[in-house]
């Protein structure tokens, strides 16, 4: 029986595009760890026996092996370290790697540090850099950027599922509004206003059916999560730790057009799935995580989630991939505001990528941290109000997502 994996703490720097006062990545990492130590004073740097670094792109970092700069700055020479990179799912994949390390029994206290410094280039150059994670031989400069590929997938998905532009616009408004009392969130730090689905509908066209407020932002930010064995968790945070009861990681094609008839999918889910509209890797990763956590009815058994809302459309697609709704009821699921704070399964109470921000290597860790805060009753301490607290939550899902759905991980976290 593999060992139980726990999360005992974590924190992020403020997320923003431009100056935050936390500009140096090694300084930001140190401050995230110090905030974690404030929450769990018994956690000592000397406890760390493995460091996993979560960082997407050298194009934003202008520094090869920038994890080496952070690592020795933290005073951790001699402690093993390596970097995990997996596109937008870098954070989730780093958490997966840390969990495996603890599960194996080889490590007890694994620090995961994630970051991205996307404001080192202009937004439009940044979009083009991200497009270097498409198959550039066939897709670079064809349209040009990721939101366009997502829009093409979403356009057909919405038609196939009778989901309207207004239906998904509610998600763009929801996540920004959830970030209104979250002081580290990019939306809080900048526009900081409550918006409606109409505001999303009236924002400028990015790629039909996606508008500006359907999209996440580019960010600078650093995050830290402490992953550990249950023995260690009981020692330093006996009342506030959270267990990772299920996890799954799966993969799909780099080019979205290649998943129409992929034999590996036909074999698993039958002909026609996922096509260009569904996130097959998300479903597959959910199947693994649910099985491991013993979840039979996710909509009933999961209380909330922190998921990868790079676009409001993809958040809706993820609901379906996670079995929260199917083609017959997804539109109604959205119209019922089921994932709003007052709904049956709130999604992205922390603000998500659209509200909190998306510094790629830190993003999946940010989602993990927000989920951890909910399950350890720390929301009143970390947010400015209890509006985004999911009261008495027992079980949350964390989702991290890359490419056009090319790599996806899901984690089931439970209160200890």
């Amino acid at each position: 029986m593999p060992r139980k994996v726990c999360i005992v703490g974590g924190a992020t720097t403020p997320f923003d595009y431009g100056p935050t006062g936390f500009e140096s990545i090694e300084g930001g990492a140190a401050e995230c760890i110090k905030e974690t130590q404030k929450d769990i004073p018994d956690f000592s740097m000397r406890d760390l026996d493995l460091m996993i670094y979560s960082h997407f792109s050298v194009h934003f970092g202008h520094q090869l092996c920038s994890e080496w700069i952070i690592h020795d700055h933290l005073g951790l020479v001699g402690v093993p370290h390596y970097r995990v990179e997996n596109g937008g799912n870098t954070g989730g994949s780093a958490l997966y790697a840390a969990s495996l390390a603890v599960m194996s029994g080889h490590h007890d206290a694994v620090g995961v540090v994630g970051w991205e410094t996307m404001d080192s280039v202009s937004q439009s150059q940044g979009s083009e850099f991200i497009a270097l994670a498409s198959d550039i031989r066939y897709e670079l400069l064809v349209g040009g950027i990721y939101p366009i590929y997502y829009a093409a997938m979403a356009n057909k998905w919405m038609k196939d599922n009778n989901v309207s532009e207004e239906d998904v616009a509610t998600i763009g408004a929801k996540n920004r509004n959830n970030a209104m009392d979250n002081p580290k969130a990019q939306w809080y730090r900048n526009e900081h206003k409550y918006i409606t689905a109409d505001d999303v509908m009236n924002s400028r066209l990015i790629s039909y059916p996606i508008k500006k407020y359907d999209c996440c932002l580019m960010s600078r930010g650093v995050a830290f999560v402490l992953v550990c064995s249950e023995e260690y968790a009981k020692k330093i945070n006996p009342d506030g730790y959270v267990t990772i009861d299920g996890m799954g990681l799966s993969s799909c094609t780099i080019r979205a057009g290649d998943r129409l008839n992929f034999p590996g999918w036909t074999e698993r889910y039958g002909k026609g799935y996922p096509g260009m509209t569904e996130f097959g890797a998300c479903r597959n990763a959910a199947d693994q995580a649910y099985k491991m956590a013993g979840i039979k009815n996710p909509r009933k058994e999961i209380d909330f989630g922190e998921i990868h809302d790079a676009f409001s459309t993809s958040e809706a697609q993820i609901y379906k991939a996670l079995y929260l709704a199917d083609e017959n009821n997804i539109a109604q699921f959205l119209r019922d505001e089921s994932t709003h704070m007052h709904g049956e399964i709130p999604m992205n109470p922390g603000g998500g990528l659209m509200g909190y921000g998306h510094p790629v290597g830190a993003t999946g860790l940010m989602s993990t941290i927000e989920c951890f805060y909910q399950l350890s009753d720390m929301i009143p301490k970390k947010h400015l109000s209890r509006k985004t607290e999911v009261a008495d939550a027992e079980c949350g899902i964390v989702n991290s997502h890359a490419g056009t759905g090319t790599s996806i991980s899901n984690f089931i976290l439970r209160r200890c």
Binding site: S124, G144, S207
Partner: protein
């Protein structure tokens, strides 16, 4: 000690290409000057400093076994590949079959028809910095011939709001002299007999979204 060239024939595994036909189309002013710090800024309170690092770099994309596809673009042809075992066909190409039962069977080249069908579509109103002036762009994923996959490219010759699922397309290449052996050497256009469907609520909505994009592009220098 050393100094003697070993002339024995080395094991090569494959014939190495010798490049004899070369073309460059780099714009004026692109120089590979290497890494350079080219400026800095300091905050008003004197506490924070930013430094500007510049480099421009030429990369060589070696297409290797995929070359026939890109060379085909120069010639106005679309090459696909086909698995001799299971018969699956692809554009974009695969040099080895994706079917695990075919055990990475090497595929064969097949010339594809210059016709396709729209699988899905979108209208871009924003893009990367090198594409901004071409907005709005209709992007489609379309299936060429009996390909098992869809390929992304632009759809021209249409009012953006008239794009439709399943619409029949032809592949149109740029004039020969303007081709670079890259994917944008061709685009899609509706087939000659295709007619747009009458206007509807969605088309009106798209018009409303796209009109400001046309205006905004006019303001770009």
């Amino acid at each position: 000690m050393g100094g003697e060239t070993i002339t024995r024939k080395k094991k090569k595994f494959a014939k190495e290409p010798n490049f004899t036909e070369k073309k460059t189309y780099r714009p004026e002013g692109v120089k590979e000057t290497g890494l350079a710090f080219i400026g800095h800024e300091i905050s008003e309170d004197g506490n924070t400093m930013n430094q500007f690092l510049h480099y421009d770099q030429l990369y060589t994309i070696r297409h290797g076994w995929n070359s026939k596809f890109f060379k085909g673009l120069l010639e106005g042809k679309i090459w696909g590949t086909k698995c001799p075992k299971c018969g699956d066909t692809w554009v974009p190409v695969r040099t080895h079959c994706w079917n695990l039962d075919c055990n990475l069977e090497k595929t064969e080249w097949v010339e594809m028809p210059l016709t396709a069908k729209v699988h899905t579509w979108t209208i871009a109103g924003w893009s990367g910095r090198s594409s901004l002036k071409r907005l709005p762009i209709v992007l489609v994923y379309a299936v060429i011939g009996d390909s098992k996959v869809a390929i992304a490219n632009e759809l021209h010759g249409i009012d953006s709001w008239d794009a439709e699922f399943g619409m029949p397309l032809k592949i149109v290449f740029k004039p020969k002299g303007e081709r670079s052996g890259i994917i944008t050497d061709f685009h899609f256009e509706p087939t000659n007999d295709w007619k747009p469907s009458p206007t509807n609520e969605e088309k009106e909505r798209i018009k409303q979204l796209v009109e400001p994009v046309y205006e905004w592009v006019k303001t770009l220098k």
